[in-house]
C-alpha cells in the first residue's frame, strides 16, 4: 500500500504533463464564436461601391450566404482573394463582403485591381458591424443559412484546404437541409 502511495505524485505529475503538453498544440487564436447559432445582427450601412445605397441585414439574400470580412490593410485578404473569386464563380453560395475599417477609395481600387468576387460589399469604416459580429481582425468569414442564422465563423484566410475541410461539409449539410425543407 505504502509503495503505491509513493508513486501518486509521479502519476499526478505525468498526467498533468500530458494535459499541458497537449495544450501546446491548441491554437490560442481560435476562439469559439459567441454568435454561432444566432441571427445575423441588424445594421444600416452604405454599400462600398455605391455610397448612396443603404444596406441592412435584409439585403443579404440567398440560400447559403458567405459574409467575408476584408480590408485593403489586411495581408491575408490578398492571399485568400483568388480563392474567393473561385468560390464566387462556382455559384454555390452567395458571397458578400464586409469592408472592415478601410478607406473607400483604397477598397475600390483593390476591387478594380484584383477582381470583385462579392455580390456587394458593406462599407463599415468604423467597425460598427464588426463589433456586432465579434470580429477581431480580418479576414474572417461567416456562413449564414437561409433563415439568417450564423452557422459558422472562420477566423483567418480561406484556401483550398480550409474550403475542403471546413466549408464544404457544412455547405453540403446546409444544402441537404434546404432540400429537406422544400420537399
Amino acid at each position: 500500500m505504502n509503495k503505491i502511495i509513493r508513486f501518486i505524485p509521479l502519476i499526478l505529475f505525468i498526467s498533468l504533463g500530458i494535459i499541458l503538453y497537449r495544450g501546446l498544440a491548441l491554437n490560442p487564436q481560435a476562439l469559439p464564436s459567441a454568435l454561432v447559432g444566432q441571427k445575423m445582427p441588424e445594421f444600416v450601412l452604405t454599400q462600398l461601391l455605391k455610397p448612396k445605397v443603404m444596406l441592412t441585414e435584409k439585403d443579404l439574400v440567398g440560400d447559403i450566404k458567405l459574409l467575408n470580412v476584408w480590408g485593403t490593410w489586411c495581408v491575408y485578404c490578398k492571399y485568400e482573394h483568388p480563392y474567393l473569386v473561385d468560390i464566387a464563380q462556382s455559384g454555390r453560395v452567395a458571397l458578400y463582403g464586409l469592408n472592415y475599417k478601410d478607406d473607400r477609395d483604397d477598397a475600390r481600387q483593390w476591387l478594380k485591381d484584383y477582381q470583385d468576387p462579392y455580390l456587394f460589399s458593406i462599407f463599415d469604416p468604423l467597425g460598427k458591424l464588426g463589433i456586432e459580429l465579434g470580429v477581431t481582425a480580418a479576414p474572417e468569414t461567416f456562413v449564414i443559412d437561409s433563415k439568417g442564422i450564423i452557422r459558422m465563423k472562420h477566423v483567418g484566410p480561406i484556401d483550398g484546404k480550409v474550403w475542403q475541410e471546413k466549408f464544404l461539409p457544412l455547405i453540403e449539410s446546409l444544402e441537404k437541409e434546404l432540400v429537406a425543407g422544400t420537399s
Binding site: 476562439l31 459567441a34 468604423l126 467597425g127 464588426g130 463589433i131 456586432e132 465579434g134 470580429v135
Partner: protein, 151 residues
C-alpha cells in the same frame, strides 16, 4: 547616488498611465472610474494577454470606444460586460463566470491546497519512531577506549 535618483525619476515619468491615448471626456468621476475598471477587466479579444486598457491594437481601441459609448447611454457595468460576452464570448472576461466549465478554474487551487493540508496533517500525526537507547557492552567499551587511545 545621483545616477540612481536619475534612473528612478526616469521610470516615474514613463509609468504615469502611458497607455491612455484616447481622449474621452467623462461627465463625472464615477463614470471615469467605471470606465477605467471596465477596460481593465475586459480582455482584448485579439491579443493573448492584454486587457483593453493596455492594448493598442485597433480592435481594443474600438472596444474602448464602445465601452465609452455604452457608458454614455447609461448602461450598467453588468450590461456592458454582457454586451461584450454576447459578441466575443467569455474569453473577454478576465474573471470568468462560475459555471460547470470553470469549476476547475475556480475551485481547483482550493482543492489542491486542501489535499496539501491533509497530507501535512497526516505526516504530523504520525507517531514519532521510538528512539532506542543503545548501550555498549563491556567488550565494546574496551574496544572503543582502545581506538580512542590509539588516535
Amino acid at each position: 547616488m545621483k545616477y540612481l535618483i536619475f534612473t528612478l525619476l526616469f521610470f516615474f515619468v514613463f509609468s504615469t498611465e502611458a497607455w491612455e491615448t484616447d481622449t474621452y471626456v467623462f461627465p463625472d468621476e464615477v463614470t471615469e472610474t467605471r470606465y477605467k475598471s471596465l477596460v481593465k477587466e475586459l480582455r482584448c479579444p485579439k491579443c493573448q494577454n492584454q486587457n483593453l486598457a493596455d492594448s493598442n491594437s485597433p480592435i481594443a481601441a474600438d472596444l474602448r470606444r464602445e465601452v465609452y459609448n455604452l457608458l454614455e447611454q447609461g448602461k450598467s457595468d453588468g450590461e456592458i460586460v454582457g454586451f461584450m460576452v454576447q459578441r466575443y464570448g467569455e474569453f473577454v472576461l478576465y474573471r470568468p463566470q462560475v459555471s460547470s466549465l470553470t469549476y476547475v478554474l475556480w475551485f481547483g487551487p482550493a482543492f489542491l491546497l486542501l489535499i496539501g493540508v491533509m497530507v501535512v496533517v497526516q505526516i504530523l500525526r504520525k507517531k514519532p519512531v521510538k528512539k532506542e537507547t543503545i548501550v555498549l557492552s563491556d567488550e565494546q567499551k574496551d574496544k572503543l577506549a582502545q581506538i580512542l587511545k590509539d588516535k
